[in-house]
Amino acid sequence: MFVVLCDLDDSAALWLDARFRDLGQSSLLVTSGLLSFARRRSQWIGREGTRAVVDLGDAGVIDQPDLVVNRLLSPPVAAWQWARPGERDYAAAEMTAFTLSWLAAVPGAVRNRPSPTCLAGPSPHPLRAAVVAHRAGLDVPDADLGAGTSPLWLLEAAVRNAGQAARVFHLVVLDGRIVDADGVEQRVGAQMPEGFSSSIARFAAAVGAAEGLIGIDIVVAGSRWWFAGMTPLPDLMFAGDALVQDLIGLVEKVPA
């Protein structure tokens, strides 16, 4: 069984779930809201290892999924939305903690495992990501990080650095590899700079996404491709069915 975990407004996740079904896979779309009203949630941790059951009632039971595509940003706390603020905050902390532990150990191929700072996966601080990208061999724009800086400060800086010819692209990177690299070059209308793919792989490994599904924003101007940010929530539709096939292929790699 495939599981696509997401927030309610995640259209890329809805698209992916639909494509899995179109291709004959048994796919279960689980929103944060559905998870919040689970019939039963249990996780055991001990000398015999870690196992868990999440019983979603009529929707199904998650215990031994083959593939989990995790795009969960928010903890499953819809059931607590009318509680007093203090109780709601406590429940949010508890549900975040449970979800983090559950997804860290759920069996099967999981993209992404959560990180303590983001349920959806690796999420280094943007400044650290930029430093790591530079160390990995990617071009990184000059940028100031001052008061009132936009959340898209690196993207904006990359566009400024690139000048009037700047164009913005989004790469979907699975396990350190750019998905549909040929399609990316066609959209850009130019070949990737020499060593670019290797730099992306080094970057993914350095931020904990050697086994991960991430998105990388790139600003292209002439022959230069600037790193402009990363996200654990890539826009999946950019990679299309090439990504869907790659994700299905992960299941075959998981040892029985």
Partner: protein, 314 residues
């Protein structure tokens, strides 16, 4: 070369560290969360390298000169001067921007500058989920208590009976007080867990040991108390716990050092129990230990070790 301390100077762990830095000849840059009006942080990227400066009153320090940072801040919303101040108030915005910039600096500095940071806030986050951290602790070669996190009262009862008693505590770091489960007394309350999973653990009996890891060094204290949670011994059993230095076996000390390193926590408090059945069980790793009690009551020179670690340029 400078050491930066980001925290409230009068808070005891910070105060002890500042004294130790002074004893070791350092003149640290102290970034006080409550004095955000007298401070500024200016950082950015140039040629892919981290650059910028931190100004505290009349003293300006280039970030490239900072070799070590101790991180123990408080969020702007918890600063007394900003209590009940709206998020869009200029003072709150200034404090928030300063906090965010300092967080950015401490997150990036180890990779960018080889700077020692104890510890990155992102690394501290592993402690926000105790069962998640338990999985990492197991990978580090320690036993952890048999645990179930559940919202099923029947499952909880079965676990308690199977282990002939159990304790319960929060799953996150919030309201984290250890209490004994009493299935008769707690029968009605147990039904409430249907709303939110609760963590139940076997009640491991034995002596508590707190191990402070500072880089490659360890400083351990053994606890004497009959309380379920020795930190709250006075409330639970009417008298405070007492502490004494403890000579940790080398192999266990090494495992603690490696575990802290794997968690990216160069300064950490590892909570162990020397179980009556011979196991050494690890309960959790505190990512920002409030070590003052262990230093003063057990005579462990933790602040000196931390000062030396921060001053040693990587």
């Amino acid at each position: 070369m400078s050491v930066m301390v980001w925290g409230v100077p009068t808070e005891s762990p910070v105060a002890l560290l500042l004294e130790a830095l002074s004893r070791n000849g350092a003149d640290p840059v102290v970034v006080h969360p409550r004095q955000f009006l007298e401070q500024s942080v200016d950082i950015g990227l140039s040629g892919g390298e981290l650059r910028g400066s931190i100004r505290v009153q009349d003293r300006t320090t280039d970030v490239g000169d900072i070799v070590g940072v101790y991180v123990r801040p408080i969020e702007p919303e918890l600063v007394p001067e900003l209590k009940d101040v709206a998020a869009d108030d200029p003072a709150m915005q200034r404090a928030r921007a300063q906090f965010d910039a300092l967080m950015a600096f401490t997150e990036a500095a180890p990779d960018a500058l080889g700077c020692r940071v104890a510890s990155r806030l992102s690394a501290m986050a592993s402690n926000m989920s105790k069962p998640y951290q338990a999985q990492l602790v197991q990978k580090g070669g320690f036993d952890t208590p048999e645990t179930v996190v559940t919202d099923d009262p029947d499952e909880a009862r079965a676990f308690v009976r199977a282990h002939r008693g159990a304790i319960y505590k929060s799953v996150s770091g919030v309201r984290s007080i250890v209490s004994i489960v009493d299935l008769d007394r707690d029968a009605e309350r147990l039904e409430l867990i249907r709303w939110c999973p609760v963590q139940f653990q076997e009640n491991v009996r034995g002596r508590d040991v707190r191990v402070h890891v500072v880089g490659d060094e360890v400083y351990a204290a053994i606890v004497d108390s009959s309380a379920t949670d020795y930190r709250y011994a006075r409330a639970q059993v009417g008298e405070d716990a007492t502490l004494a230095p403890y000579a940790l076996p080398d192999e266990v000390a090494e495992r603690c050092v490696v575990l802290a390193r794997d968690l990216d926590l160069p300064f950490a408090g590892v909570d162990l129990k020397l179980a009556d059945d011979g196991r050494i069980v690890c309960f959790e790793v505190n990512p920002s230990p409030g070590y003052s009690w262990y230093e003063t009551a057990a005579g462990l020179p933790i602040s000196d070790a931390l000062a030396r670690w921060l001053m040693r340029a990587a």
